[in-house]
């Protein structure tokens, strides 16, 4: 939001870096995190490998560029007069910034949905830092991958349908919510 609303030196560079990071392959990020979190890695003392927390950290890093880039673009696309409008109607600086954020809600919601989908569908990080341990660090995508390898196609399809149902339900609900807010 700060990147979208303010003008500062190096803004384009920061935006460029975040935009480039959107395309980061999950396998590459997973490998980097594995090297950091594994026992001999720089952060090995945290004992995060293989845990769900490591997957969560990895996915948070994965979606940060999506959230930042899309939210910044959404905020930038808001009519620049909106902040002044809110101010002249009596808003404080914070209230005026919130008004801008509210105006960019479609873009912000899109950023959240895109991030959610990216995190839910990724495989590389979950495998690399979670190690796909049954009952401990398995997620839907890693289970599907494993079951396909084992030849359990029917089970894999069932899990895939569940995964798709989750994605579509969340997207539909968000769209409905967005319409109601307006």
């Amino acid at each position: 939001m700060f990147i979208g609303m303010k003008t500062f030196l190096g803004k384009q560079l920061i935006k460029g870096i975040f935009n480039a990071l959107i395309g980061m392959p999950t396998v590459a990020l997973g490998l980097i995190l594995y090297l950091l979190f594994s026992r001999s890695g720089a952060l090995g003392f945290l004992h995060l490998f293989p845990t769900l927390q490591a997957i969560i950290i990895g996915q948070a890093i994965l979606i940060t560029p999506i959230i930042v880039s899309l939210t910044a673009s959404a905020v930038e696309s808001v009519d620049p007069e909106i902040k002044d409008l809110a101010k002249t109607l009596g808003a404080s600086e914070i209230e005026a910034s919130l008004a801008v954020l509210r105006e960019s809600r479609s873009g912000v919601i899109l950023a959240v949905i895109a991030s959610f989908n990216r995190a839910l569908a990724e495989l590389g990080i979950a495998l690399a830092v979670g190690a796909n341990i049954r009952g401990k660090t398995q997620v839907l995508t890693t289970v599907i991958a494993m079951e396909v390898n084992r030849g359990e196609i029917t089970y894999s399809i069932t899990l895939m349908v569940i995964l798709l149902a989750i994605v579509f339900s969340i997207n539909t609900l968000t769209n409905l919510l967005q319409r109601r807010i307006k």
Partner: protein, 353 residues
């Protein structure tokens, strides 16, 4: 009347551009004050400073005698409301747009509903509460913006070109609302415009701003009856003639404006002069006019423009004159293009620029 807002030696720079240059101005309580000037002259910047949206680079701003500084700027902001030239609306319903400022001021739901209804009635948009503001026409959107500002019942209403690019119907609703609000609620109004006609009809006092500097401040009568060079430099004045003037025995002057046309003025001035005759000061007739008017010419109508309640007629009488008459007179006289008419105006209606 007490002053409501005062700018003292206010200067505003945007990088290397000076938008306002040492501007000092006072707006009195309950008056409609117009800031006249061409595009880019600093009108909007001045209004934004008055609205406490932006801070001046140097100089002081006083609201009800109190100097505005960082500690009281947000309170001062709540005492005024600005309507922007480019209509800015929240992407939501008309009701929520108008309710925004009221919610910030912690009004109850009942009061908000009541106020929204009242202001929509003022701008003739009754029943528009649930409509999406951005789906309305340009004129309706600007009326929503005005309604949203009026709902707050601020002491100072700042209007930046409120009728720019709107059709006559919306212009007249907005102008009527502005006058009504000033009369009924005693709201002080500062309006930026480059529309001379509008400034003259609804304003009490006006200031001319050119290149960020105030060049003239006065009553509407002072500014518009005898236009200054400053006003003439940007306003599209009609019936402006230049020529050589000679003083007559009677004490008046006769100006040769070319093509054999000479106009008499009550002013005693010789040499090269530029004069101006207001279109509404000229009367026309189909038959020769016998009156006290010192200037009578015969001409042919070459153009007719329709302006709602009035008609503007261009008459070629050697030189072209613009005459403004009411629509009713125009219809009664059954005038057409190529009709021959006589036009007349008094020597005292000829003003020098």
């Amino acid at each position: 009347m007490k002053q409501l807002i005062k700018l003292k030696e206010v200067t505003k720079h945007y990088g290397e551009i000076t938008a306002l240059d040492d501007v000092s101005l006072e707006v009195k309580e309950k008056e409609i004050f117009t800031v006249l000037g061409p595009n880019g002259s600093g009108k909007t910047t001045m209004l934004r400073i008055m609205a406490s949206i932006i801070e001046p680079t140097s100089g002081e701003v006083f609201f009800s005698g109190e100097k505005i500084n960082n500690s009281n700027r947000s309170q001062a902001r709540k005492r005024s409301t600005m309507v922007f030239q480019k209509t800015a609306l929240f992407n939501t319903t008309v009701y929520k747009n108008i309710a925004y400022g009221l919610k910030l001021r912690k009004f109850s739901k009942k009061e908000i509903v009541e106020r929204v209804e009242n202001v929509l009635d003022l701008v003739k948009l009754n029943g528009y509460e649930k409509r999406l503001a951005k789906k309305l026409s340009g004129g309706e959107q600007q009326r929503v913006s005005l309604a949203r500002a009026l709902a707050l019942n601020s002491e100072l209403l700042l209007l930046d070109e409120p009728t720019a690019n709107l059709d006559p119907k919306n212009v007249s609703i907005i102008e009527e609302t502005i006058s009504r609000v000033n009369h009924e609620f005693n709201t002080t109004i500062v309006m930026a415009t480059h529309n001379l006609f509008q400034a003259e009809t609804i304003t009490k006092r006006a200031a001319l701003i050119l290149d960020g500097k105030i060049v003239q401040v006065g009553t509407a009568q002072e500014i518009f009856r005898v236009p200054s060079k400053h006003l003439a430099s940007f306003a599209r004045l009609e019936n402006v003639f230049s020529g050589k003037s000679r003083i007559l025995k009677e004490g008046t002057s006769l100006i040769d404006i070319g093509n054999g046309v000479e106009i008499e003025t009550a002013l005693k001035k010789s040499g090269n002069v530029t004069v101006f005759v207001r279109p509404e000061d000229i009367i026309i007739s189909k038959k020769p006019i016998s009156s006290s008017a010192r200037n009578v010419f015969k001409g042919k109508i070459v153009e007719i423009s329709d302006l709602e309640s009035v008609a503007k007629i261009k008459i070629d009488a050697g030189k072209q004159f613009i005459v403004q008459i009411t629509k009713r007179s125009f219809n009664d006289m059954q005038l057409n293009i190529h009709s021959h008419v006589f036009l007349a105006f008094k020597a005292s209606s000829v003003h020098t620029i």
